[in-house]
Chain length 256, copies 2
């Protein structure tokens, strides 16, 4: 009698991952520099003894952190089903990247094109001195910040608008229309969190919104100022793009 043989099948997998962006030149592999995609592909190649391309929901910039980035890749690896695979992957990854969960996805799943909703959080620490434990994870604003005014300034961004005023010059998107569903300032545990969610975002859009809101808050501007910048679509009127180390990709939502 022949032993039963399982026919190897190529499956698509998805994983939720977290990383500390401090020591990465962003998510996406590039000619030089340590990238999240690079270390993930190296770990997967070590386990598969063959290259395994990885795709992500969002290509976070250098220094931006993630608590709930979603990646996808294909594999025939037999131990993937065993639940032991995330552990094997984590033991092949550096300490600043962790796989939180891994599951089999539909074979046509694409982490970026199928994403319905992205949730970002920008952490501010406001006041005289920065807590040294937050220095890699929050922007220090050495003054009191009016959270109520920030909320008023962010409100006009809610809804679907052409956000070209907040896009980096290099943004390649054909349409600059995006739908923002959350834009608010929420105090919590020594930090002021700016929560910004939407269906998708243009390049540097979240950090440009944060920088502009902070500039207008300091000027004690009315919410109409944000409204006017949005309507004019003029990059020259926005504030400085907020630095990456305060930004977290918190979660990505899919239909199922």
């Amino acid at each position: 009698m022949r032993s039963p043989r399982v026919k190897m099948r190529r499956r698509r997998y998805a994983a939720r991952i977290a990383y500390d962006g401090t020591d990465f030149s962003g998510f996406q592999s590039q000619a030089s520099g340590r990238t999240v995609q690079g270390v993930l592909q190296e770990a997967l190649e070590r386990l598969h003894r063959a290259p395994v391309p990885v795709v992500a929901a969002g290509r976070t910039d250098a220094g931006v952190h993630a608590e709930g980035q979603v990646i996808g890749f294909d594999s025939e690896h037999s131990s993937l089903d065993a639940g032991a695979f995330p552990r094997a992957l984590n033991s092949n990854l550096p300490a600043d990247v962790r796989v939180l969960r891994l599951w089999e996805a539909p074979e046509d799943f694409h982490p970026r094109y199928d994403a319905r909703h992205r949730h970002y959080r920008y952490q501010l620490q406001c006041g005289e001195s920065l807590n040294p434990m937050s220095r890699r994870y929050a922007l220090w604003i050495p003054r009191a910040v009016d959270a109520g005014r920030l909320n008023e300034l962010l409100a006009p961004l809610l809804g679907c608008h052409d956000f070209r005023a907040f896009a980096a010059a290099g943004d390649q998107s054909a349409s600059k229309v995006r739908c923002v569903t959350t834009a608010s300032a929420v105090p919590g545990r020594g930090l002021l969190n700016l929560r910004i969610s939407g269906n998708a975002f243009l390049w540097t859009m979240v950090r440009s919104i944060v920088g502009t809101a902070l500039m207008l808050e300091q000027q004690r501007a009315e919410p109409s100022a944000m409204q006017e910048i949005l309507a004019a679509g003029d990059r020259s009127r926005i504030g400085a793009v907020a630095p990456p180390h305060g930004l977290f990709l918190e979660r990505v939502d899919y239909n199922d």
Copy 2:
């Protein structure tokens, strides 16, 4: 007419400081290694052009963090009263140490001998994967931890006891009696916080308590087990001393 002259007077100052212990060989200056006391004294010497000895409420071990350490030092520096001094001091300190507040203290103030109460927090992250942003600030326990049982195990420590079982071999204290006023496990924001407060602590006492509570929790031991270790005063029965990177000196209380 002669211009009025202010007679320089030596004053005692106190400051509340925070530091990220990751890259320090502890608080206290020693023959080699970067210490918190060392960088504070260097910054003060630069501002005073003379050595300024610094004393602290608690000499935290290598790797232990502080959010509310209290230090004391003497100074005749004229700008100390101006409120600008904390800023000058911070601009002379590395980013992992910050002066949060500075005030003039009674001339016989001693940060250690006058301290009435010390509050520590030990951060645990329990579960399959460690959040990479917490890797320097929480001990990862790769399993579920029963917070209720931890609370039961910690309860017998409340009150004044001889804590020699939990002291490092090198502890020099004449009396090993200390009074613990808080010993509890409090879940919060992805972490399990062990809160331990008391009038004072023996060397490695907090981390020995944490290590022992975690050992007994894993063994599903009854609270009587902690009670017996305490009563026996036998170091050989305690758990491994928990690593320093989860420990925070949160606050020190004084009479006024």
